[in-house]
Symmetry: C2
Subunit: 481 residues, 2 copies
């Protein structure tokens, strides 16, 4: 079989979502060359196309984080075991999944060093040295880095031993300011997910059973994947004074008295790439939201004879010049593939807009645009392209969000009892809103009978007005990744 046929089959062989969603996911990740398995258990290689998505996410989220006043810094990847052990809940939560360095060069180490599963411990140690006065507060730092958790079951992007993320760590003079920060960052994540990733989310607080090890309270944003399972997409933690007390992080207040600081931490990881894939993809492959797509529009030139080629080529150059830096454009001028093959490949790779340029288009002085999200076609005159294409990308971005929200809302139900939930989850998936009195017993019963867990108590319960009685909250449950 020739190389070309080989690759064609490679695209056509994609498993349907309805047949096996999990297999569809892994195939899409690998065929679209987003990531590959590494020769180390549970680790992945992020290939250039996948990393291009991550770079766009980083740029957009980083700008939102900096707009809150936080600054980037970098803390060491290694954490001495004795530091990790200071906060009891924290070590209990993380110790089982830590990778340990025990040898440096030819010397066995006197103390084991953890590869950071998260950086509270090392950052708190530094904060205890740096913070002296109320004038030093708030301290708001963020770092983009790798982290590691020795997971038993792993999946590309969703749960890997090593992952990339940003983790923010702040210290404040009182609890009110810390709480404001926790919610401010939750809102940063919500707006980033909805506006940049086109993923609708519910923002809310977790139950005590699901909170971060060492936190007073954890908040998260929760999205719904196309198989009806929920995915926690980012978290924001109110750390209270748990770490401040054991790491002795104090400041002198305006009266000269020493006080412990109040802290927060918040993070989002390469897992978000998994959320994008599973929120938008279909049986043809990926659908990337324009704001984070490495290639926003791909030009596919079409010719059969050499004279057509001589006609099309210069026109494609004019398209490129007309667009300049306005759009992340790629011209696919490979000779060894047919246009049809290229259409399939770029659909698989989720490129938001395809621009077809054949002899007829050249004659009309236009390109034929085809949207990935709904396949809508539109002939765009060359002179209108620089204005129309960015607008069209905005329309795609908005339409993708609307489609994902419609899917999410269709797959959100209301129940009043565990029995109703049990019946619901026999036939359906998605979110179920239920009145919840805050009891762990209820959570445990639901989990046992339905497999669903409490995703969050939404900050905005208005869609479920009247559901929760006195002393109750709306609990949003789902089976989850």
């Amino acid at each position: 079989m020739s190389d070309v046929q080989d690759r064609k089959r490679f695209v056509e062989d994609l498993t349907d979502q309805g047949d096996d969603f999990s297999r569809w996911y892994t195939e899409v990740v690998r065929k679209a060359q987003l990531a590959d398995y590494a020769p180390v258990r549970g680790c992945m290689v992020i290939r250039p196309y996948g990393f291009g998505i991550w770079e766009n996410m980083q740029r957009l989220l980083d700008a939102r984080i900096k707009a809150t006043g936080a600054q980037n810094a970098y803390f060491p990847i290694l954490i001495p075991e004795s530091l990790l052990q200071l906060e009891a809940d924290h070590v209990e939560g993380f110790a089982p999944e830590v990778a340990w360095v025990t040898q440096g060069g030819s010397e066995p180490l006197e103390e084991r060093l953890a590869i950071r599963p998260t950086s509270e411990a090392i950052i708190c140690r530094m904060y205890s040295r740096w913070i002296e006065s109320y004038r030093d507060l708030p301290v708001m730092m963020n770092q983009w880095c790798n982290a590691m958790r020795w997971e038993k079951v792993t999946r590309l992007f969703l749960r890997t031993t090593e992952f990339l993320w940003q983790e923010g760590h702040t210290a404040h003079a009182n609890h009110a300011e810390a709480t404001d920060e926790v919610l401010r960052m939750l809102e940063v994540y919500r707006s980033f997910a909805e506006e940049d990733l086109a993923i609708p989310v519910h923002a809310g607080r977790k139950s005590l059973a699901e909170k971060f090890a060492g936190a007073e309270m954890t908040y998260s944003i929760e999205a719904l994947m196309r198989d009806g399972k929920a995915l926690q997409t980012a978290t924001s933690h109110d750390l209270g004074q748990h770490f401040a007390k054991v790491f002795d992080i104090t400041y002198q207040d305006e009266t000269g008295a020493r006080q412990h600081v109040w802290q927060t931490s918040w993070g989002a990881s390469t897992r978000m790439i998994g959320a994008v894939i599973m929120s938008h993809g279909d049986d043809q492959g990926l659908k990337l939201p324009p704001r984070i797509a490495p290639i926003q529009a791909v030009v596919v030139p079409i010719w059969r004879k050499d004279e057509e080629r001589a006609q099309v080529r210069p026109f494609v150059e004019r398209v490129r010049e007309a667009l300049g830096d306005r759009v992340r454009l790629h011209v696919d001028d490979r000779d060894q593939y047919t246009p049809g093959w290229k259409y399939n490949e770029h659909e698989l790779r989720g490129v938001p807009i395809r621009l077809e340029v054949g002899p007829k288009d050249v004659t009309k002085g236009a390109v034929m645009s085809v949207r990935r999200d709904g396949r809508q076609k539109e002939s765009i005159p060359l002179e209108a392209l620089a204005e129309r294409l960015p607008a069209l990308l905005d329309e795609v971005q908005r339409a993708m969000f609307d489609a994902a929200r419609a899917f999410r809302d269709e797959n959100t139900a209301t129940c009043r009892t565990v029995a109703e939930m049990e019946a619901h989850f026999v036939a359906r998936r998605g979110f179920v809103a239920v009145p919840w009195d805050g009891s762990a017993a209820f959570e445990a019963e639901v989990k046992e009978k339905t497999g669903a867990t409490l995703r969050c108590v939404p900050l905005d319960p208005s869609p479920w007005k009247g559901l929760a009685g006195p002393g109750q909250d709306v609990g949003l449950f789902a089976r989850a990744y």
Copy 2:
């Protein structure tokens, strides 16, 4: 002692370069809050001001790298010992300085995993899977990541156990293309160092004694620090087919035959921040080149009475508005410090331009700019600021490069024999150009008698016309970091 006096002394206590350069260096790094020691041997914390420099470096260098056609990707930090051992020179060079992970969660690992000292081994394993045909070549990937070498003697930025860097790895169809790539990247580093960091460098090849473990040939850029010692600032390696053969990285050529690829790798690290500090700093502290300075201009408002304050404050706002995004501006409106104290602090932190705004300036409708590099003053009318300040920053950038080059050239001598070099290094430091026949014995003798090593054989030997005889090259020697 009050907090204010404490901090004032903190700035004034900076050691002079001439008294103890090494102490000056460490003090400047810590007092300017670029970095701090971490509670793990040999590791550093990069604080926001230092990380701001790194972010600017990354942005500028990343754009230069991408302009060559390379794409970013991410490979795992852990490398199985068996992979690291495949290339004999490579393992011999790096094994003594590897940190080993031996435990994952509660399980002892069957095979030790190295924290990457550099990523050739893991990347080559992936390339052997991905590369099939000549159509796949060249493969040009880069990653920004952390890496680790278990160094015995460490110094903030210059040599730390963990460091941040970019490492590029490319594969080509033949040696000529690989060599072009090695030299193209060397030129990227040269132009980045000279244009963005304002550091003049010599670009050239290393001796066999100094080449990268596993390379066919190593090239580097070499800069001169203000204490007269050289610093290798970035390297570019011709890997030949050393790795391709042991990792079995082959492609099918146009005739259908299988061939091994030819590879390169190239890297630059947070060490470059050390190069910036030691190339430009003086007894008052840092001098940051405007292109990478986190703060390019700082406004210091000056008032004594409240009515002056009422006059100055709105004017400062107009300054801020006039500049917009054109300049990375910071307004230092802290009440607890005097203007004089702020001048000292911003000089210590190397801010390229200070803008003083007092009642007299407001009356004139102007700000008084003071350059960090040469202390030149210039009153700039508010309406001219948006144009003048960016131009002034360009002048500072250029002047800093010229000053560093003049210093470098004053500290470059020519010798003809080892005896001459010995005499030279008794009294002086800096670069010494000498005719070199390529012999390792000569290198060893120079090192023993003078402490200087061969920094590189410059690609451009024209400054030393006539120095090298037939069969000789110009060798550039220096004592080095």
